[in-house]
């Protein structure tokens, strides 16, 4: 029940806001922030109570909803969703504080933000296909409004594009869900949409798996977004208000990767293995393409948006490494991207508030008037390009080392992303923060104020915390990832189907010493 409470608390807060007169701007803001903050702090207790030794669902709650169709209100968290859940509550509170300066329709804005919070949280806890789909579509609406009402000059175009892209993908997913519903009914005689039950009992041949996989793939790949389904993202980011971008990058994109982990991998493991080359190469193209295009952007937000395409390519690659390293790396990289990119959007938002432009050519030499801002920007920028000791590195390294075990060529190309990342971030940083301060409009810019400092400091702490003590976070993944990895292990699907033992040596070599086994394998 606690989980349900946490999920619907923001929505309740949104209802409460309805009754506050719109003149009381301060009260509205404080109530919204209070609700979101309380939600975040309460959600932290989940981390404390979470049992890291099991891959089973925790904090589970289930009650019949539409009995005749076998639909339940079933929620729960496991290692894959726990931190995403907490990240969402955190970023909701964070983005409300980041939108302190919103003037237009403040009340409606805060209502939309809180409703969005509930929608996003629901996606991560839903353990019923129907419920999942409801939340999945529900969170679209507030986000659509946030872009479409509070966005920039081309906001309608961007909002519609965002909505249509996602909706097209999810419709195919709905078809797949209905198909699965009938398959399960045929196979087991049970009418159910329970995700856990289906994951355990779904048994379909390879070609059906592939069709179903493709339907889910499209929905999630658009959300991630993978190359070439990414073009909605730069538009949406550029037009969205700062908080919208933070939520979009921090949480909404993660729904795509979460979908892969929750559905595609466990439901269609064989299809995943078969389609690995395609998805692997699409991810690698995404990494390189995103970085290259980011390098030549003229708008700061667009640059960060394209860098997201690149970063999410790493996450996808980790997921499709099918081993514990890659999966852990993908999950951690999810979190890292949520921290680093959100912080980047926040920082870009800060100078946008001051100058009402995000064109790189308008800036230069900002380190002089804004030294504190420069330091924070530098730290976040370096974390985003994966400097060791900061968060991005741990995730990237795990992803790459995981992929290297599965397909060294993919890993090699993906690793070249580290060079390109340095190019686009440093070049941007140089043009914005360094050089002479030539534009007189920039000479007297205010440095960060208290509210902005309060916003960015936790992000910086997280950057280093995850970089140096990632175990605080990755230990929650362990059990679930091990379970998932055993399910999608490529060895299960090789002709002959011999299973790997724990050390990665094939059983046929069991009598040989470990070193020789490794050599023999490397020669194959």
């Amino acid at each position: 029940m606690f989980l349900t409470f946490l999920t619907f608390l923001p929505l309740a807060g949104a209802f409460a806001l309805v009754f506050i007169p719109r003149e009381n701007e301060k009260t509205i803001k404080q109530t919204a922030l209070g609700v979101a903050l309380a939600d975040f702090l309460l959600s932290l207790s989940l981390y404390g109570e979470f049992d890291t030794t099991t891959a089973k669902m925790q904090f589970e709650y289930s009650t019949p909803w539409i009995e005749s169709w076998g639909i339940n209100y079933h929620v729960g968290l496991d290692g894959i969703s726990l931190l995403l859940f907490i990240l969402t509550t955190f970023l909701t509170a964070f983005s409300i504080l980041a939108s302190w300066e919103v003037k237009k329709y403040l009340k409606e804005y805060m209502i939309a933000m809180l409703a969005l919070g509930t929608g996003m949280l629901g996606v991560f806890i839903a353990m019923d296909f129907f419920l999942f789909y409801v939340f999945w579509e529900f969170q679209l609406i507030p986000m659509y409004l946030i872009i479409g009402v509070w966005g920039g000059p081309r906001r309608i175009y961007a909002a519609v594009k965002f909505f249509l892209y996602t909706a097209v993908g999810s419709l195919l997913m709905l078809v797949a869900i209905i198909w699965i519903y009938f398959i399960i009914f045929e196979q087991t005689g049970t009418r159910t949409t329970d995700i856990l039950y289906i994951t355990e009992h779904l048994n379909v041949n390879l070609s059906t798996q592939k069709w179903l996989f493709m339907a889910f793939f499209l929905a999630f790949a658009i959300k991630v977004p993978m190359f070439p389904f990414h073009t909605w993202l730069p538009d949406a980011h550029v037009e969205a208000p700062t908080a919208g971008s933070i939520i979009l990058a921090g949480v909404l994109l993660k729904m795509g990767t979460y979908g892969f982990l929750r559905f595609n991998l466990p439901l269609f493991p064989h299809a995943c293995n078969d389609l690995l080359p395609y998805i692997g190469w699409l991810s690698v193209i995404g990494i390189i393409y995103g970085a290259l295009v980011a390098m030549v952007q003229e708008d700061l937000k667009k640059l960060v948006a394209y860098s997201s395409v690149s970063h999410l390519g790493f996450v996808m690659l980790g997921i499709f490494a099918f081993n514990e390293y890659g999966l852990q790396g993908a999950l951690l990289q999810n979190l890292n991207h949520g921290v680093s990119t959100s912080a980047l959007f926040l920082l870009v938002g800060m100078i946008y508030d001051r100058r009402h432009t995000r064109l790189i050519s308008e800036f230069g030499g900002l380190s002089k008037p804004m030294p504190k801002y420069a330091i924070c920007f530098m730290i976040i920028a370096l974390s985003s390009i994966g400097l060791p000791g900061m968060n991005g590195f741990v995730g990237e390294f795990l992803v790459l080392i995981g992929m290297f075990q599965t397909d060294a060529m993919l890993a090699t190309f993906a690793t070249s992303g580290v060079i390109l990342a340095a190019c686009y971030i440093l070049w941007m940083f140089q043009r914005v923060m360094f050089l002479e301060c030539k534009n007189p409009k920039n000479e007297n810019l205010k440095d960060m104020d208290l509210r902005e400092t309060v916003l960015i400091v936790p992000m910086i702490i997280l950057v280093f915390w995850i970089g140096i003590f990632p175990r605080t976070f990755t230990k929650t993944f362990d059990a679930s990832v091990a379970h998932l990895a055993s399910k999608v292990n490529p060895d299960n699907f090789r002709p002959g189907g011999h299973k790997k033992d724990e050390h990665g040596g094939h059983s046929e070599h069991a009598e040989l010493p470990q070193e020789i086994v490794q050599i023999v394998q490397s020669k194959k």
Binding site: Q297, T415, I419, Q430, V481, A485, E515
Partner: protein, 655 residues
């Protein structure tokens, strides 16, 4: 005392945080105390740890201190751990020792700067990263330091961030280094795949029995590692960032771009000696690249006028010698030269800094000359270090360079030796040219500038470094065999049993039913250190060095018109002075196509291709909808028409 190990990198880290956050509040003097104090404390702690290491029980040669588990997933378990052995101790002494001296010097050099605190925050942070680099007990710990020093180098090169050239140089250094890091990362992944661990102790111990001698795997791994080293240590083909890095303040050039960071690649190769020895092909390439760089960079050094740039090319060239040594398997000689180079090159850079300070920021040697009488202390320390780098007996550089040349002939071949000797000649030449153009000859300083000797805080450091540069050779006097201190210290690190490796590899290949090459000859021992040959070679290299100095004397003192003449008649000179146009070639082949290609990707592929398709689909759907509107016009007569038509159609189909 070994338990204090973890403290060594902590002091500079704390120092950096204090300087960075409170530097403006506590004032310059306190910043100076904190910054220098923290590095000196590291040095003292290193001494304590050294004491503890000396008392290790017989048979133990490595002390590992594990702080906590850093990254863990599946079978991968990477610790935040430090490793103390002979090699890391030597490096620790150099980094914290020379680091302390340069910090003290920098207090004097940077005192007028407003951003004094920022400089020392970066500088201390650099020392922290460098210490982590040499202390880490696994490849990833090393990589923290490896990228950390690169990042600090980026900050410090771009210290004068309002200068475009400085920013460009910083970015260039970072990006070029990242190319090397890319290879390094791949190597780490490959190592994990083969060994199932990335701990140094595990990998080095099992190298002989895990991989096959000369196999593809080990060759790829070592080549990747070496590419990583060429990035960090500025070797061909990734050396171009180092000369540009001279945009940073001079103490930075001394500490980062001469004494410590750029030698990290050498340290890494020596640390991984067990892997490199398993891959003779890579070893040959390492020697070739090292020797080639030593010669190539030296030639560029002869034609530069910026005093720091000459030293930068000299650094590239000297590190080339270290790799040459690694490539022929003389790892001790490489570390020996690394240490002596740290002394004399730090002294040279700081000396050049003292000159630049004395002539108010001028770096062009054509606008110097005759400075000897204005700054005698700088002059004499500079001359001693120059003699050391040129290889004049009995200064440190003589012994270390000679050991490299000896091994490149005995363990390598005549070509490697030839490269080294030619490089030595050119080194002696351009260094003497530097001294003559700066301190001797005609006084060319701008009349408004009044040259003066630098403050004591700077010259005292120069004197200490000059003494070290002079006597550093004691670490490894070659003839006194038992007394070769470095060899003794490094022996446990370099212990490698080739016989086992070859036995094992032959066995594995036979198991697979493949033919094993004949490796027996590799095990035949060379003649033990041949004293006569060595003395002859020593004499020869001394003559070469003297010849280089004499040539410079002829060119720049005796017949000052000669350089002019050569410049006019020899087309090759332009080529050398423009650094063989390597920067321009890289620009045209890598940088420009990437940037321009990216624009095409964005404007054509992204905006027109992908987005165009999507919008096109939307338009087509819109068009169809437009057509469909006709059916819902709202006029009853239209609906009646459709009904009649439908009815007729139905009749036709039905009958």
């Amino acid at each position: 005392m070994l338990s204090l190990t973890w403290l060594i990198p902590m002091y500079p880290l704390v120092g950096s945080i204090i300087c960075g956050f409170y530097g403006l509040k506590i004032g310059k003097d306190k910043v100076a105390k904190v910054a220098c104090g923290s590095v000196i404390l590291s040095f003292l702690t290193t001494l304590l740890v050294l004491g503890g290491y000396a008392n290790l029980p017989e048979g133990e040669s490595i002390y590992e201190q594990v702080m906590f588990t850093w990254i863990a997933a599946g079978n991968l378990n990477i610790e935040w751990g430090y490793q103390i052995d002979g090699l890391s101790l030597v490096m620790l002494m150099v980094v914290s020792g020379v680091g302390s001296l340069i910090h003290i010097y920098a207090v004097g050099y940077m005192y007028e700067e407003y951003s004094f605190y920022r400089f020392f925050a970066y500088f201390n942070l650099f020392v922290f990263a460098m210490l982590i680099l040499v202390m880490g007990n696994n490849f990833l710990m090393m990589f923290i330091g490896w990228e950390g020093v690169g990042c600090c180098s980026y900050f410090l090169i771009g210290y004068y961030f309002d200068k475009k050239s400085a920013c460009d140089a910083g970015t260039k250094a970072f990006v070029v280094n990242r190319v090397g890091d890319f290879a390094f990362l791949l190597a780490v992944m490959y190592i994990f795949k083969l060994f199932g661990s990335i701990d140094f102790s595990h990998v080095m111990e099992h190298a002989a029995t895990t991989v096959v001698f000369e196999s593809e795997d080990i060759t790829i791994i070592t080549m990747l590692l070496f590419i990583g080293a060429t990035g960090k240590s500025a070797q061909i083909p990734l050396y171009t960032w180092l000369p540009d890095a001279m945009e940073g303040p001079t103490p930075v050039s001394a500490l980062i771009h001469a004494a410590t960071m750029v030698t990290a690649g050498v340290y890494m190769v020596v640390r991984c000696n067990a892997l490199f020895v398993m891959a003779p092909i890579t070893m040959w390439i390492v020697a070739l690249v090292g020797g080639g760089t030593a010669l190539f960079a030296a030639t560029i050094g002869t034609a530069q006028y910026d005093i720091k740039r000459v030293l930068a090319y000299s650094t590239v060239s000297q590190i080339g010698y270290m790799f040459l040594a690694c490539g022929v398997g003389a790892f001790t000689a490489a570390i020996f030269h690394l240490v002596t180079h740290a002394f004399f090159k730090a002294c040279l850079f700081l000396g050049s800094g003292s000159v630049i300070h004395g002539v108010h920021g001028e770096q062009d040697m054509r606008k110097m000359g005759g400075l000897k009488k204005y700054m005698p202390k700088t002059y004499w320390t500079f001359v001693i270090s120059t003699a050391a780098i040129a290889g004049i007996v009995p200064l440190s550089g003589f012994f270390s360079k000679d050991e490299i040349l000896y091994h490149s002939l005995m363990d390598g071949n005549i070509m490697f030796w030839g490269m080294g000797v030619c490089g030595a000649f050119i080194t002696a030449f351009y260094m003497s040219r530097l001294v003559i153009m700066t301190f001797h000859g005609k006084y060319n300083v701008d009349p408004e500038v009044h040259p003066h000797e630098s403050p004591a805080i700077m010259t005292n450091v120069l004197i200490v470094l000059a003494i070290l540069a002079a006597i550093g050779g004691l670490l490894g006097i070659p003839i006194m065999h038992g007394a070769h201190f470095l060899k003794h210290v490094l022996a446990p690190v370099l212990e490698f049993d080739l016989a086992t490796a070859i036995d094992h590899s032959t066995h594995v290949l036979h198991e697979q039913g493949r033919h094993a090459p004949h490796w027996g000859h590799l095990l035949e021992h060379h003649e033990e250190h041949n004293v006569l040959t060595e003395v002859l070679l020593m004499g020869f290299s001394l003559c070469v060095a003297l010849a280089g100095i004499a040539t410079a004397y002829l060119f720049y003192i005796k017949f000052p018109s000669w350089p002019e003449k050569i410049m006019q008649t020899q087309g090759g000179f332009e080529l050398v002075r423009n650094k063989y146009y390597v920067d321009e070639v890289y620009d045209a082949t890598f940088v420009k196509p990437t940037v321009e290609g990216s624009y095409i990707l964005w404007r054509q592929a992204d905006a027109k291709g992908i987005d165009g398709t999507v919008n096109g689909v939307a338009k087509i759907i819109g068009w169809f909808s437009q057509q469909a509107r006709v059916f819902q016009s709202g006029f009853v007569r239209n609906y009646a028409l459709f009904m009649v038509m439908g009815f007729i159609f139905f009749l036709i189909v039905a009958f």
